[in-house]
């Protein structure tokens, strides 16, 4: 791979340095203002009444008892939605408030504003809804058979008659996973008194929310202004609307600011989850271990509304073979409509589920061939210049699959069991497990996904960069959700211009165009790319005006001389550049699922070492070693943060995280029972960063936020298989699965 990368200017606070984030210390001190900390004088509190049934007709709603409660300012139902009664990012199929029927447990039916939160909640509970419950459709296979399909993705590649010497087959399942972002949904809507509204909210994409909110309110888009409030994590949970329209409706109706904060239980109903998946795979290889044919059938439960089910199942299908070459492929995937809570975006977006399946298959193949499992992967590893086995797209950017595999395989294994501290044993301080009951296992997995939006989506990011008296100012609507984007944009600006003083100014929807979503691992490459382009323009204009060859905070230099001090340079005003940055265009799939559908790819590998108490089925993940293809680590500390956090999210899905559904009703909508790993469950993570520059984006950097989550889960489960000798085809693996007690 030879990609020309602009040489960065050597400057303190520039790229490649682990500089501190501006929000780090305030967050540690509890001083950071999250969207749940917003306040306005005379504000009301909102609350939502939600369906207790997964499916029911609504025969009547009586709000009189709620309205009669002192302090209640408004009670609104579907009839009060001023504009489009439906919303949805891809397809407008979800009612703002339920119309005549509810289709999932937790669907919003009515909203209330009152003087305080408790009164609002009491009033919501006082609304009387007459439901006629119907039999819910909760089985994804049944839904598929009944034709309840959001999108069916088909891939057929190569000679369908090809057969291998060795065949392995398996059926795998992954559970619904919650994003478990620590900040629940929250926001504040402030009416402007002239029919418009300002909405301050935590979201991943202001502009796509804005479009839907304005439509549902029936207002011109310029009188609805959206502002990013402090976001407490996202992971996909904030890609679809939750309380945005509700807040604006209540504020416009009452003429007063209205605030809402979901509690944890409501948050589980208020956002989408990772699609649970049932997957069948058949892998065929020749005796040397070369993949010959892969077949897969994937069913993803999309739940009651479309959300992003379409692109999620497309991803699942396109990445169903993983980062491997294979001449013959057939994949059928469907995302189906059921009466389960809606599923949608979560870190890894369809690539997580299939990776659990295809990596288990690669291990089975290795066993069937009598080959080392790393060797089988290396033999088939996809590289730049190859065609993707599914879509046949030629990979023109970097893709160091073999390098990530080799790097991880070469890392030293951790020391033997430390039996001194019970916290390092399975069962932890529960003191369940003597050292003699422990078996160690090692598992390996490789993950693969595209970066940014695909399949003809007009993916762009706007920024406005100005060189002014205060230094470089960057205006963007891109959502900082805690990942460190603001920091990295500053680093890109410094390394591009030579100016040390940089400020990133969050912009509302009225001030600048869309930056696209903070998802699909795309912001560093997209908004970062936009900053890089705009800064280059600003720099060349400054050098032209100043008559020199180098820019610093002092001004323009020629050789060793300051030829135009900054004051003179900006005497006629700031130097500004506005950019709309796009990645290479993508195509729509043809009838075989072929085409140049993606803008770029990244790959990662994980090796997990686990200690397992097989008799009790308890696991301690000891260490995870990983190598990831990051293009260029613009801020190594941030990159490691993403790797450690993403890896742990994958550990969660491997051994504990699961949204439990019973006939469409969520049984564990609290952090008491939806378990995520604690610090004592967190393994040591050792990471190697592979820097092979990408063909587009700033300084060769690649989006890398999702990759760490993808291969972590299959690596951990493979390690548990190795320790326990059991098949373990479902994630999360539960103690009873390992102990073999059913």
């Amino acid at each position: 791979m030879t990609t020309r990368v602009d040489a960065p200017i050597d400057i303190a606070g520039g790229i490649g340095q682990s500089i501190r984030r501006p929000d780090g210390i305030p967050k540690l001190r509890g001083e950071f203002d999250y969207s749940s900390d917003l306040h306005a004088n005379h504000m009301l509190w909102g609350a939502t009444l939600r369906s207790p049934h997964p499916r029911a007709l609504i025969a009547g709603i009586d709000i009189s008892a709620a309205l009669a409660i002192p302090g209640v300012a408004a009670v609104l139902t579907a009839e009060d939605v001023p504009g489009n009664p439906f919303f949805g990012q891809e397809r407008q199929d979800q009612p703002v408030l339920a119309i005549d029927q509810v289709r999932f447990w937790g669907e919003a039916v009515a909203i209330v504003a009152a003087e305080d939160r408790e009164t609002a909640q009491r009033a919501a509970a006082a609304i009387s809804v007459e439901y006629e419950p119907l039999e819910p459709l909760v089985d994804a296979e049944e839904a598929w058979a009944a034709g309840e399909v959001y999108r069916q993705a088909e891939v057929i590649t190569g000679d369908q008659g090809l057969r291998g010497d060795v065949v392995v087959e398996g059926t795998y399942e992954t559970a619904a996973q919650d994003q478990a972002m620590l900040g629940t949904e929250s926001g504040l809507a402030i009416p402007d008194g002239t029919g418009g509204v300002d909405l301050h909210v935590s979201t991943q994409w202001l502009h796509v929310d804005h479009r839907q909110v304005a439509a549902c309110l029936g207002l011109d888009s310029d009188v609805v202004r959206m502002h990013l409030a402090g976001v407490g994590g996202a992971f996909g949970a904030r890609e679809d609307l939750s309380l945005q329209v509700h807040l604006c409706m209540l504020a416009l109706r009452t003429g007063r600011p209205v605030k809402m904060v979901y509690d944890r239980a409501e948050s589980f109903a208020g956002h989408v989850h990772r699609h649970p998946a049932k997957m069948w795979f058949r892998h065929e290889a020749d005796f040397e271990g070369n993949l010959v044919r892969v077949e897969a059938r994937l069913v993803l439960d999309g739940g009651a509304y479309a959300e992003t089910s379409g692109p999620v199942v497309a991803n699942a299908a396109y990445f169903a073979v993983g980062p491997y070459r294979c001449p013959s492929v057939k994949v059928t995937g469907a995302a189906v409509r059921t009466n389960n809570p809606p599923n949608g975006a979560m870190r890894g977006f369809g690539a997580v589920q299939v990776c659990f399946g295809y990596e288990a298959q690669m291990d089975r193949l290795a066993t069937a061939l009598g080959m080392d499992s790393v060797e089988v992967r290396l033999r088939n590893a996809l590289a730049s210049g190859d065609r993707l086995a599914t879509t046949t797209q030629t990979i023109t950017g970097s893709l160091p699959t073999a390098e990530v595999i080799r790097s991880v395989a070469a890392m030293p294994l951790p020391d033997d069991l430390d039996t001194e501290d019970p916290r390092h044993l399975p069962g932890g301080t529960g003191l369940t497990t003597p050292a003699s009951a422990i078996k160690r296992g090692v598992g390996f997995a490789v993950g693969f996904k595209n970066i940014a939006f695909a399949e003809t989506f007009d993916d762009f990011a706007e920024v406005r960069v100005a060189l002014a008296d205060a230094g470089i100012e960057i205006r963007t609507a891109a959502a900082e959700v805690g990942q460190g984007m603001v920091t990295v944009l500053g680093q890109i600006a410094r390394s591009t211009t030579g100016i040390a003083r940089v400020e990133v100014i969050p912009a509302s929807t009225t001030e600048i165009g869309s930056a696209g979503s903070t998802s699909a691992s795309r912001q560093t490459q997209m908004t970062g790319g936009a900053v890089h382009e705009a800064c280059k323009e600003v720099l060349s204009e400054a050098l032209r005006r100043g008559g020199g060859d180098r820019l610093t905070d002092e001004g323009v230099w020629l050789g060793g001389d300051l030829v135009t001090p900054m004051g003179d340079l900006l005497a006629d005003g700031a130097i500004e550049h506005h950019t709309r940055y796009r990645h290479p265009p993508t195509e729509a799939p043809d009838e075989h699922g072929h085409g140049n559908l993606h803008a770029g790819y990244a790959v990662s590998a994980h090796r997990a070492v686990v200690d397992v108490d097989v008799e009790l089925g308890l696991v301690r993940v000891v260490q995870i070693d990983t190598a990831q293809d990051v293009g260029k680590a613009l801020n190594p500390q941030s990159v490691l943060g993403q790797i450690e956090g993403g890896t742990l999210q994958g550990v969660g899905l491997a051994i504990m995280e699961e949204l439990l559904l019973d006939d469409g009703i969520v049984r564990n909508a609290t952090f008491t029972d939806y378990l995520i790993p604690t610090i004592l469950d967190a393994p040591d993570v050792e990471a190697i960063l592979i820097e092979d520059p990408e063909e587009w984006g700033p300084f060769g950097a690649k989006g890398m936020g999702e990759l760490p989550t993808i291969s972590s889960t299959p690596a951990v489960v493979a390690a548990i298989r190795a320790a326990s000798g059991r098949d373990l085809t479902r994630a999360p693996v539960l103690p009873q699965d390992i102990a073999g007690i059913n």
């Binding site: 909640q121 509690d263 239980a265 916290r423 069962g427 932890g428 301080t429 529960g430 003191l431 369940t432 497990t433 003597p434 009951a437 008799e615 009790l616 089925g617 308890l618 301690r620 504990m656 439990l660 019973d662 049984r667 564990n668 609290t670 008491t672 029972d673 378990l675 790993p677 604690t678 610090i679 004592l680 469950d681 539960l734 103690p735 009873q736 102990a739 007690i741 059913n742």
Partner: protein, 265 residues
Amino acid sequence: METVLATSLDEALDALTADPGATVLAGGTDLMVSVAYGDLRPSSVVSVRRIPDLHRLDDSFVGAAVTWAELERGPWPAFAEAARTAGSPQIRAVGTLGGNLGTASPAGDGLPFLAAIDAEVVLVSRAGTRSLPWHEFITGPKSTALGAGEIILGASIPPISGKQAFAKVGARSAMAISIASACLLRDDAGSTRIALGSVGPKPMRARRAEEMISAEHSPSSAAIDEFARLVTEEVTPIDDHRSTAAYRRHAAGVISRRLLERCLP
């Protein structure tokens, strides 16, 4: 809601008598969860944390306001092991034995030790003081014999010799609600008691298993297996969203065997 921060037993008992809808508050780690989720709306709250009588901790008594953190450093090794498994450092700093008894969850981690050692729960009210054996105080899942106007003073602990150990199976390494727990006591003569949590509607003793193993001075591995098997027969676990009855039964047997092995010379 009104809150009384009682600094003496008298003050607390007065407040409880004055408002029959009053609820006792200790560390609040159970109570405030119920309030936050709208399951409980007490008309008033009487905080008992400042009452000196409830802080007694010596070889024969644990006051109701004694925290998990204090029990971790207390005189009973198995009780300390149990306390160490409760919640997180923050929960252990404020959660109390009185609250664990008051909640009487089948998964309460303080309860197997009390059951194994045959503790009595001491209750005080305007009518006087009474003591109830643990199994009479805990009447069912999350239900107790605590009467109106009554406060838990603490638990009286009979003297004990020999070895003792506790184990708890949870779904993660910390902050885990017990899926199965057990406390085993064995004296030098071999007399053995085992109490289990989360495998029945309330903490329970496996009496047949106790009887069988107490007769074995130096049990063979077959005897140890038989002890564990009897435990699995005696427990009465259920399926719920945290685990399955079958796994809980299995786990109860495994940890009972391992606890016994820990307590053998």
